[in-house]
Symmetry: C2
């Protein structure tokens, strides 16, 4: 018989609240087997699943997306088709992630320029700020130019 863990032990080992573990069980994310007394017993495979879930969470995956994927360690035979499918999924996620990074880079630039402009006002940084803002603003609203006043930091007065 393989060693199993109580919900409390798992909670301490993985630093996950017990309620969260029960929640995952209810949601069908990681559902351990039960003893006759209905107490949950987590196997090593369950722990691996939970760690994978933590990694996936870290990677901005929704729990629904995680469900059932990434359980290769439970499989006897790993079919190339499965691999291919999951690999594509990961690629898509990666594209999404690269997008987010790009987005955040722009934000970082905005914050930097804005702080700079506030600290020590001068036409160049104000100009750069205005451009960054316009660029972002366009990416926010698909298209359809805003043709009334565009001023955003108020330094035009």
């Amino acid at each position: 018989m393989e060693k199993t863990y109580s919900i409390q032990e798992v909670s301490q080992l993985l630093q996950l609240p017990k309620d969260t573990l029960r929640y995952y069980d209810r949601m069908g994310i990681v559902s351990p087997s039960r003893k006759e007394n209905r107490y949950r017993r987590y196997t090593k495979n369950d722990l691996i699943d939970l760690m994978n879930v933590q990694i996936m969470q870290y990677a901005d995956f929704a729990l629904e997306e995680i469900k059932g994927k990434f359980q290769f360690h439970r499989m006897e035979h790993i079919s190339p088709a499965d691999c291919q499918e999951v690999a594509s999924f990961l690629d898509a996620k990666n594209a999404e992630t690269r997008q987010k990074i790009e987005h955040l880079e722009k934000i970082s630039q905005l914050l930097h320029t804005a702080a700079e402009t506030l600290r020590d006002f001068n036409p160049e940084s104000d100009q750069r700020l205005a451009e960054t803002v316009r660029e972002i603003y366009q990416s926010i609203r698909g298209k359809g130019p805003v043709h009334f006043e565009e001023g955003c930091n108020g330094h035009q007065d």
Copy 2:
């Protein structure tokens, strides 16, 4: 008298649902003045505030954080102290943003390595995957090593 806009006009101009504008009003984010009939009338300054809100949202600011900041365009005199304060706030936000980017870079690496490993299994990419995972896992759980099995992709079999 300055030109003002109805809620519908603002909604179309800024591509924000009317309910969202009302929500912002309730929350005290942007509260336009009213006519005698209680209809909202948005001034140009209100529109600027709203656009700033959109930018701040894009920049991952919570609405609560936005409240009352960034209204320089309404001020007669901008005190250096105010500027300094907001500039510091922006710096802090930027630090946060840089952190997020770093985080996402790691995720991107993880996704890339994982997909690669799935596509074409070989010891090196498996090794790299394991390392990336371990690194991330440590950053997730503050510290306290996990000393049971660490396998995460199941390729150890």
